[in-house]
């Protein structure tokens, strides 16, 4: 469901006009994005999930200030309804503004991703008037960071088996349970919760969605340390957390369609930004080969050629996906491509670097590739594992039979997609 279904002005700037407006806003504030300057500054290969602790908090403050300005200029929520702080324009306007934003070196606003692309759209589509008014402007102004409270330790890919319970009480609902893989929960003010209000045997038919104040008593957020050392995901323990009934989204036991909205939003996003997870990996591989002299090795030359080829193909596929119908499940195709590409880049880096990939010899831009090595496994799971993506393609695109015994629910994934840095 698109945000534009509510209120959209049919008058307003043309695409070129909105682009010019964005340029006018950006040019005095931030530099143009230059090709990675190799050999100096940070040599990060990965674009997300590197900061933690104070460094992360500082990054969030920068992001908030930036988002506030963007919102003030009417450039934050291009295709959102005017009454909730949006600009009321079309998806095409939004794509155009995002293209302009990509030309500039804007602050990393990844912390708003869950709000802008997942929780916000769910509130817009399924929330009450009060919920929309209460949260949407704050989400888009950068005041409210959101998280998803979907996955559980026993329900990873199989969300319909979740067990966190919400039971009726005088003042609304009392929630108990444990969630996991919740991106940004340690920074979030608002969580979108799926909880069981019906019989577990009913699977996806006994689930209700809620908006939860992450500061409420009984919520305990514990960052999960990943193998990269980052703490991007969290476990969230809910112990007798009281949620007013006004915070319920949709019907009781009717949470499943809301989960679906989430995933539709997520899929529509997966475009060519996948590669944005990495910082210009192919150009860096070329530069790396040149700096080590490996570029004279014809085998390396072919590996570099294939790297570039892969990058162009995933980009072209993303470009094509803009016009593709939802049934094509381009998100799943892109996810599988980008997962395989990452593994390929790791193999190329292995070939070029040898031991310098594993043991730090202190040269700029060498051991940094171990970020990719350690970050890839999470990418392959987050946003739906390879296996889930393949089932989606097999069943929904190719029309093959569903897996026998408990059917795959109508959703691809429970964990949140890792998110590229850059404009959201």
């Amino acid at each position: 469901m698109k945000a534009t279904t509510t209120t959209t002005s049919t008058e307003g700037p043309t695409l070129d006009e909105i682009a010019a407006e964005a340029h006018a806003f950006l040019a005095p504030r931030v530099p143009r994005r230059a090709p990675a300057r190799l050999g100096e500054g940070p040599d990060d290969v990965m674009g997300v999930g590197l900061r933690r602790g104070d460094a992360e908090l500082a990054e969030v403050e920068t992001a908030r200030a930036w988002q506030r300005d963007l919102f003030g200029a009417g450039l934050a929520w291009i295709d959102g309804p005017v009454e909730y702080g949006g600009r009321g324009l079309t998806e095409a306007h939004r794509n155009r503004v995002h293209a302009v934003l990509r030309e500039y070196d804007v602050p990393n606003t990844a912390c708003f991703m869950v709000g802008h692309d997942i929780v916000g759209p769910a509130i817009l589509a399924h929330g009450t008037e009060e919920q929309r008014a209460a949260y949407l402007p704050g989400i888009w102004r950068g005041d409210i960071i959101c998280c998803q409270l979907f996955s559980e330790p026993g329900a990873g890919s199989d969300l319909a088996s979740l067990r966190t319970s919400a039971r009726r009480a005088d003042d609304g609902w009392v929630v108990n349970g444990q969630k996991v893989w919740s991106s940004y929960a340690h920074l979030a003010q608002l969580g979108e919760l799926l909880a069981r209000t019906g019989d577990p045997a009913d699977r996806h038919r006994g689930i209700t969605a809620f908006l939860v104040d992450m500061g409420a008593p009984g919520i305990d957020v514990r960052p999960l340390r990943q193998i990269t050392g980052a703490e991007h995901f969290n476990e969230v323990f809910l112990d007798d957390v009281v949620v007013p009934d006004t915070q319920r989204i949709g019907e009781v036991d009717g949470g499943w369609p809301i989960a679906l909205t989430t995933l539709t939003s997520e899929r529509s996003l997966m475009g060519d930004e996948h590669n944005g997870l990495m910082n210009d990996p192919v150009r860096r591989l070329y530069a790396l080969a040149e700096s080590t002299g490996a570029d004279t090795d014809p085998v390396v030359q072919e590996l570099l050629a294939e790297s570039w080829e892969r990058e162009q193909i995933v980009r072209e596929t993303a470009r094509r996906s803009l016009d593709a119908p939802a049934e094509d499940q381009t998100g799943s195709v892109l996810k599988l491509m980008s997962t395989a590409d990452m593994e390929f880049y790791i193999a190329v880096a292995t070939r070029i670097l040898g031991p310098r990939l594993a043991v730090d010899h202190g040269t700029w831009g060498t051991f940094a590739w171990s970020q990719l090595l350690l970050g890839a496994p999470a990418h392959r799971i987050a946003g739906g594992s390879d296996e889930i993506q393949k089932n989606i393609i097999a069943e929904r695109v190719l029309g093959l039979p569903r897996d026998p015994r408990p059917p795959i629910p109508d959703r691809p994934t429970t964990t949140t997609t890792l998110r590229p840095q850059g404009p959201a």
Binding site: A287, E302, Q312, E316, K390, L398, P401
Partner: protein
């Protein structure tokens, strides 16, 4: 620009026509190969849909559409395993002749091609044998003649004449040798691809018309090679799509162990992988087609991407298609091996000895350096 709807209509119409007129089985293809060229189908394609003139300007009787439209037709030819001279005529000869648009003879040939009355086939070994030597053009008493041997001429035996890039004392010339010219003869080559024929053209002091020389001839020759690459890549997309469709349909009905084999997750995941492979080939083709107007490093690298990916994807998918058909997949009677044969043949014509990877590597290095 041609709209998505118009493209779809062109695709549907082509599909109906070409499938109806193309042999289905290996035996039928073998029979067709040894029969005389099928002029009725050729004329019908022109009369009914104007397929040969898809790129020929309207004033010459064509429909003057964009590359995108031509590629849709080649996709359909691949998917149907059509084996006539369409690719060399429309994919190779037409682009070459279009570079000679000021030449009256070229314009006449284009008009005849669009009308479906002439089969003009290039005879250039370079497009699949990069180091092949050119036939030699000499000035005889009665005008120019060419001598030399050109192997691997696609549909060479079905041609009304050959466009022959030739060596005129170290300079390039583009010669036209009509079929029936004394000293010009073809002989068929054995190929794994049962759906189309290749021939060796032998020229011995064969009288020729010189259509272009030097830079003009070079440009025509380059257009021939680029056109062939795009057309073959498009065929590969069609082959891949059709082989996958055929297989998906088969696994939905073939039962083993009490269920259709398409219900086994192992099979489902293989097919999902093949779908991703197909999408990557489509993207590679779209990228190359979109980049023909770009400057050389990007344009050449993009074309090489399509040459590598589309060929590899078609072969991979056709190979798995045979496999997923189980025992009947490797019988002569089932048509799935025809896709495998054509896919491999197209693949080796598109990329020989890793040349395309080297093309990408060199051009991208130039892109990044620039």
């Amino acid at each position: 620009m041609i709209s998505a709807e118009e493209l779809r209509a062109l695709r549907d119409a082509t599909r109906r026509l070409v499938r109806a007129w193309t042999p289905q089985s290996a035996d039928d293809h073998e029979a067709a190969a040894s029969a005389p060229p099928d002029r009725r189908t050729w004329a019908g394609m022109a009369r009914r849909l104007g397929l040969q003139g898809v790129r020929v300007p309207e004033e010459l009787g064509g429909t003057g559409l964009e590359l995108e439209a031509e590629l849709v037709v080649h996709e359909e030819m691949g998917g149907a395993l059509h084996g006539g001279p369409f690719l060399p005529v429309v994919g190779q000869a037409v682009p070459a002749l279009l570079t000679l648009a000021g030449d009256e003879r070229a314009r006449t040939m284009l008009a005849e091609i669009a009308a479906g009355t002439s089969v003009v086939v290039p005879a250039d070994a370079r497009w699949y044998e990069p180091d092949a030597a050119l036939p030699v053009l000499s000035d005889g008493a009665d005008g120019p003649t060419v001598s030399g041997v050109v192997p691997g001429v696609m549909a060479g035996a079905a041609a009304d004449g050959w466009l022959v890039p030739a060596d005129a004392g170290g300079r390039t010339a583009l010669a036209w040798v009509p079929a029936g010219t004394a000293g010009a003869a073809t002989e068929p080559m054995t190929t794994i691809d049962l759906t189309r024929g290749f021939a060796t053209l032998r020229l011995q002091d064969a009288a020729a018309v010189v259509l272009a020389r030097d830079g003009e001839a070079e440009r025509a020759r380059d257009a021939m090679e680029t056109g062939a690459a795009l057309a073959l890549a498009a065929e590969c997309v069609g082959i891949a799509a059709e082989a996958l469709d055929l297989t998906v349909a088969y696994v939905k009905v073939r039962e083993q162990f009490g269920q259709v084999i398409g219900a086994f997750q192992g099979v489902k995941h293989q097919l999902a992988d093949l779908y991703v492979t197909l999408e990557s080939a489509r993207s590679a083709l779209a990228f190359a087609a979109r980049s023909v107007g770009e400057s050389p490093p990007l344009r050449d690298a993009a074309l090489a991407v399509a040459r590598r990916r589309c060929g590899a994807a078609a072969f991979k998918i056709a190979n798995e298609a045979i496999h997923l058909h189980g025992g009947i997949g490797f019988t002569w009677e089932h048509r799935v091996h025809l896709y495998y044969r054509r896919a491999k043949t197209n693949q080796v014509l598109l990329d020989t000895g890793g040349g395309q990877a080297r093309t990408i590597a060199a051009n991208v290095a130039a892109l990044y350096a620039g």
